[in-house]
Amino acid sequence: MGITVKIRRCSGHTDDNFRFDTFEVPLTDNSNVLDVVNYIQNNLDPTLAFRYSCRAGMCGTCSMRVNGKNRWTCRSTVKSLRSKMLTIEPLPHYPIIKDLAVDMRPFFDRYRHVRSEFVSKHPTSKEFAKIQPNSKERRDIDPQIECITCGCCYGECNLVETNSGYLGPAAINRAFTLIADSRDSAGEERLDLLNSPQGAWGCHTQFNCTDVCPMGISPTRAIQKLKRKEVGHAFKKFFS
């Protein structure tokens, strides 16, 4: 059992001079896409560049565009793709370092820009904050916190390309989890920061990020909730 694999190759920082190389790769029942590119690098073409680390779906470094959709390759079995051929490309909207390895700096720069770190209201307190598991706050935050920063959503979002300053789904989703957290003290600052076309209002609800998130997170849900919080925040500021 084997499969034909087409890989987009590119040696520079621009993707203007690219080509597709084709390989025949043997498969086992549970082969995943990362096994396939590993096989190519180990046996067919040692110059193939790509990035991975944990192989367990935790680190979020092995994301690639496979058959037209951004995926975490370590957890995407070839069988599940139901295709006789694999086309593997680097994640879109990122500068390419080489072949399938992309520069994640634009993603993490934006992530840092929204103050993605937790800023405690009571940094010296020895008491644990008591937030009930069934509280609205917990129910708002819980579905949004499992992000592994794989960058699939940023690569799939059209607005990232058409609106150059747009912060992207992952960064806004992270900001939302902190804004909704009653223990955090930088919420207002983040609300001010995201009240712009580059922030929450830049999202056109295309749901591309939601469709590709390997963790099943819906950044669109966070962004929509954030838009409502922005309206409340603006009213509060206006009347205060």
Binding site: N158, T162, H204, F207, T220, Q224
Partner: protein
């Protein structure tokens, strides 16, 4: 060429529900904006006298314009129902049901299509030369 290639890559290569709805909403919106110009000109002719207005309206009784009117009704229907879907997504916690809402919008458009067919198809056929 690069504009067409980029447009194809960005907006036509992803066939997700959200992307299709976004694209159709823009296309119908632009179409309606373009329609408004001749619409205003026609309405303005009513200020130039009854004869002028009747003459203007007679143009729209041809099969081509009857068909165009039929398409206009569908365009308005999609833009309205999808607009309501977008408002629902913005104002309420319905993001998890966006595909269902798009299905509902299409269902309502189909209802309008069938109803409008009863009105417009005989008119188009009867006004054929």
């Amino acid at each position: 060429m690069s504009f067409i290639r980029n447009f194809q890559r960005l907006f036509l290569s992803q066939k997700s529900v959200g992307n299709v709805s976004w694209l159709l909403h823009r296309v119908t919106g632009v179409a309606l904006a373009i329609y408004l110009l001749p619409h205003f000109i026609s309405i303005h002719s009513s200020q130039l006298g009854q004869q002028m207005f009747d003459q203007e309206l007679n143009v729209y009784t041809t099969p081509f314009f009857k068909f165009a009117e039929f398409i206009l009704v569908l365009t308005v229907a999609f833009h309205m129902f999808n607009g309501l879907r977008i408002i629902a997504l913005d104002c309420f916690n319905l993001v998890g049901h966006q595909k269902l809402l798009f299905g509902l919008a299409l269902f309502c458009c189909t209802a309008v299509l069938i109803s409008a067919s009863f009105l417009f198809v005989p008119q188009i056929l009867l006004s054929s030369p």
